[in-house]
């Protein structure tokens, strides 16, 4: 969705009526693209399998995972894990060419699988890989794709109802792909809950061979430079997150947020405007276009809480806001609030937490 048309315009539209063409009526089952890169499956794939299970149960169909990769590069492990996280079937394509993600090889393979086995719903993680792949597969198939969904459901007529924030999260809209198949959607990591793993659960493997040759691929992977571990942020999976916003007034004051996160053994983040101002790198951004977090405790300092931020933090068990503005939107979804200047309050809070928790952690390095 580049533009959500206003509801009035949407109401006038012929495509609002569901008249599924004959050729799509055989499309059945809910698929999840299992993101396997360098032997590791991105956890969003399992979150999506949990969601796919719910949709499939409502539709009375099966859940399938799609595993693409080089032979003996984690494909068999990923297949078994997919069953344990709820897949009934795994479509498995093993080919040395699929060792690294490349748009061309993955688009061709996934498109061929869709055309051959005809799923009605295809879900992908809204990761760099998933978004790159979903956009080109949907365009190749000329079907609808809804990005960054926060809620998926099945309507009475069995259509997929995909709800996503739009206009920077000021509004939510529910989008349908009524007359094309598959109905495609991407969902960001941590938006859906991780399903319980059922060890030993098994399913059916459908192996599919694709005719891909390295000579026919234009883009070559020259090398892969792994991130240094010090660069990685574990923000999405942290139990405690402390974040700062424009209320901190300067990049330097983000250090106050880092210090508190350090004392709490948590991670730090920031709101989108901080990243846009260059105060912090993009991987520290929390919200609709940044990271979605699900911590036990989330402390937001100087963040007004625009809805695009809210959708990224609503999964937190306890949200507390430090904000001088008593009308800030964050007070609509925070559990506790302190109406005080974060710049002065954060050092006191850091000290108080340090004193309170000190019998376990003396002299912990911060920052």
């Amino acid at each position: 969705m580049a533009d959500a048309p206003p509801p009035a315009a949407a109401g006038n539209r012929a495509a609002m009526k569901k008249e599924l063409p004959e050729k799509f009526r055989s499309y059945k089952h809910v698929w999840v693209m299992v993101e396997l890169e360098r032997g590791e499956v991105h956890p969003v794939s399992w979150e999506l399998l949990g969601e796919a299970r719910k949709l499939a149960d409502k539709l009375g169909v099966e859940v399938a995972g799609v595993v693409l990769g080089a032979p003996n590069a984690g494909t068999r492990e990923a297949t078994q894990q997919a069953f344990e996280f709820g897949a009934d079937v795994v479509y498995l394509v093993e080919n040395p060419i699929l060792a690294d993600y490349r748009n061309e090889s993955f688009t061709r393979t996934l498109t061929e699988l869709v055309n051959t086995y005809q799923p009605e719903i295809l879900l992908l993680g809204a990761t760099n890989l998933g978004r790159d792949l979903a956009g080109s597969v949907a365009t190749t198939l000329l079907t609808g794709l809804t990005a960054d969904c926060t809620e998926l459901n099945v309507d009475a007529d069995k259509s997929l109802a995909a709800t996503r924030p739009t206009f920077g999260g000021s509004l939510l809209c529910t989008i349908y792909t009524l007359n094309f198949r598959p109905q495609m959607a991407t969902i960001r990591p941590r938006v859906m809950a991780m399903p319980a793993r059922q060890p030993g659960r098994v399913g059916r493997v459908v192996e599919h061979a694709v005719d891909l040759k390295e000579e026919s691929l234009v883009t070559k992977v020259l090398s892969f430079l792994p991130d240094r571990s010090s660069q990685k942020s574990n923000l999405a999976f942290a139990d405690v997150v402390v974040a700062g916003g424009l209320g901190l007034q300067s990049a330097e004051n983000l250090q106050l947020v880092r210090a508190l996160a350090g004392v709490l053994g948590g991670e730090w983040g920031c709101s989108r405007p901080c990243v846009q101002k260059g105060w912090a790198p993009a991987d520290r951004q929390i919200g609709q276009t940044g990271k979605t977090i699900r911590p036990k405790l989330y402390i937001a300092a100087g963040i007004s809480g625009a809805i695009q931020h809210r959708v990224g933090v609503e999964g937190a068990d306890l949200i507390v806001a430090i904000n001088t503005d008593k009308n800030a939107p964050i007070l609509d979804f925070a559990h506790f609030a302190v109406a005080t200047d974060a710049i002065r309050f954060l050092p006191a809070l850091t000290e108080a937490f340090r004193a309170r928790l000190s019998h376990h952690s003396r002299d912990r390095l911060v920052g």
Partner: protein, 283 residues
């Protein structure tokens, strides 16, 4: 070399308000800007042109008022601006948008030389889909390179390009062939200020304005609402939580407020204190 940069004029998201009754975006009086992600692509394109010679054409689809953003792009140093505007485009989803833009890129190619690289923004700040770039790539069968952190080099004679792409857990170093579609990552290249000469030129420049027919689009059923497989059925405001945040009293001493604050958290959530102690101790 010839480079086409696709941009979008978007409302400045910080200033968007939603009508409390109709749940529609109140666009009136909201300033518009070039989608910030597009500027990283535009600057990268300008640097490539400065190094290799050639031209940068900026392209946008939108209402006539999108002219403002195109002129802004000219002040940064783009050589030519094309506005694709027609009522047939209204209500386009990403598939219909990528169709119209790809036809316009073809027409640009036929008019001023086939582009070596087409740039798009990583995503927009209003739609946030990241789908239009890949859509254009597919329709024009360009090599698709998204989330690019750096263009290492372009070899025009060999028609190749080396780039660094952000992947999960690291950076892919890729070599691809021209023509290609590239979306740049934020922070990859900050937009220049533009020269005084460019500002003068931009003010006087005549923009190229195409409707669907002029852009060579014969089949308008592939555009706008009719060309969009997705349907927006409901638009609604998020439901507010039933109760507001509980205020913790601010006391004269920050230390006292902090201690009251911690006590309130720990009494609200059983087990939180123990969790924090374990985390703080690094267990």
């Amino acid at each position: 070399m010839h480079i086409v940069v696709c941009i979008k004029q978007v409302p400045d998201s910080a200033q968007i308000r939603v009508h409390p009754v109709t749940n529609t975006i109140m666009r009136q009086g909201v300033p518009t800007i070039i989608n910030p992600y597009d500027l990283f692509s535009l600057e990268t394109a300008l640097r490539l042109r400065d190094k290799h010679g050639g031209e940068v054409t900026v392209l946008t689809m939108g209402p006539p008022s999108a002219e403002e953003s195109l002129r802004k792009a000219l002040t940064y140093g783009a050589d030519r601006a094309v506005l694709l505007t027609d009522r047939f485009f209204a209500g386009s989803d990403t598939l219909a948008t990528s169709f119209a833009l790809s036809k316009a890129v073809e027409k640009i190619g036929a008019s001023w030389g086939s582009p070596d690289i087409v740039f798009a923004g990583k995503q927009t700040i209003d739609g946030d889909t990241a789908q239009v770039g890949p859509g254009i790539a597919r329709r024009l069968e360009l090599n698709q390179l998204t989330y690019i952190s750096k263009i290492v080099g372009v070899d025009l004679a060999a028609r190749t390009m080396e780039l660094e792409r952000r992947a999960e857990g690291g950076t892919q170093v890729l070599r691809t062939a021209l023509p290609a579609l590239v979306t740049m990552l934020e922070g990859s290249a900050d937009i220049r200020r533009g020269t005084f000469a460019d500002a003068l030129r931009a003010a006087r420049a005549e923009l190229v304005v195409w409707n669907a027919a002029a852009a060579g689009i014969a089949d308008v059923t592939k555009c706008g609402l009719r060309g969009s497989p997705t349907v927006v059925k409901r638009v609604f405001a998020p439901t507010p939580r039933s109760e507001k945040a509980k205020a913790i009293d601010v006391q004269p001493k920050a230390k006292d407020t902090a201690e009251a604050f911690i006590a309130a958290l720990f009494s609200a959530k059983a087990g939180l204190e123990g969790d924090l102690e374990r985390l703080a101790a690094g267990i």
